[in-house]
Amino acid sequence: MAISIIRTIIIFTAIAVAMRIMGKRQLGQLEPSELVVAVLISDLASHPLQDVGTPLLYGLVPVIVLLCLQILLSGAMLKSVRLRHLLCGSPSVIIHNGRIVQSEMRKNRLTIDELQEELRKKDVTDLAAVRYAIVETDGSMSVLLYPEHGPVTPAQMGLHPADGGLPLVLINDGRLIGENLQSLGKDRAWLEQTLRKHGLSGVQGTFLLTVNEQGELYTAPMEAER
């Protein structure tokens, strides 16, 4: 049993590192080759876990090789548009200028029911409101509505709302993010003063503190553990 525990720790660490190296895509957005690699890695890694008579290398080496091949392939696809189209395919325009392209639906083996389901997931129930619907290479659908059916924007109403920008996290779960404080051009003294002004008891007493480009703060005090 000790062997199983140690092997599990090793394989788990190896796969976590491999997935981290592969990149940030969420599982549902993987290209076909990436999905194959993800599925294969999980299967290959499980063999030495299930059978302690199988050397650990029989699981680790294929994982490393798959990871390296995936990195090489991704690099090649970055450089070669042709290879990218060959391996990932091209997006398919299912609705073009409001008209359903039936040949593309047949090519993608997409039924009307599936098309309507995907549109509903995008909060679109009226096909007449859709100008373009595109099935991307990862299988997801992008929808562009006619302007008169889309949500109104401040620009269309001639409004100019304040732009808060991207909030910076200064304190995360009681820990100070020093580089963010530095990039704001503030120091520790300013931070302590700000925390006192908002009734917070120091860095460790703060669960979350963010500040945006307008200087607006969001604070959340640390809750006492039960």
Binding site: V52, T54, P55, L57, V61, I64, C68, I71, G75
Partner: protein, 126 residues
């Protein structure tokens, strides 16, 4: 670009290590197989003491490389070879020529099978 270069280098390194591994496994199995053949030949000539010494040297070579072999061969394969060598030693101790010859053949077959599994051939790839 750096990641791709490292990935390519890692694959090349693995290929080189694989080649070294094949060579290593072949060296051990050839050495043990040779000792087993010697043991059987000497037993056939009636030189039981020297035949047993050869068999025990074969076992000791397997012991010396057991950590490495356990890392690169399936454990049951290694155990099967080891068991065959122990059986051979037992047959030689009891001076049973036919049994010793049979065990010797079994040991050499299992050694060849273990070596072939690591070798790159059409049979092992497919």
């Amino acid at each position: 670009m750096k990641k791709e270069v490292l990935a390519g280098a890692a694959i090349l390194l693995l290929l080189v290590l694989a080649a070294v591994n094949v060579s290593g496994v072949n060296a051990v199995t050839d050495q043990v197989s040779g000792l087993v053949r010697d043991a059987c030949d000497r037993a056939a000539d009636g030189d039981w003491a020297s035949a047993l010494a050869c068999a025990e040297r074969a076992v000791s070579v397997m012991d010396r490389h057991s950590t490495y072999l356990h890392m690169v061969l399936r454990h049951d394969e290694f155990d099967a070879v080891y068991d065959a060598l122990e059986e051979l030693a037992g047959c030689l101790q009891s001076r049973d020529t036919d049994a010793a010859a049979a065990q010797g053949r079994i040991a050499r077959t299992r050694l060849a099978s273990a070596a072939q599994r690591e070798s790159v051939t059409l049979g092992s790839v497919f």
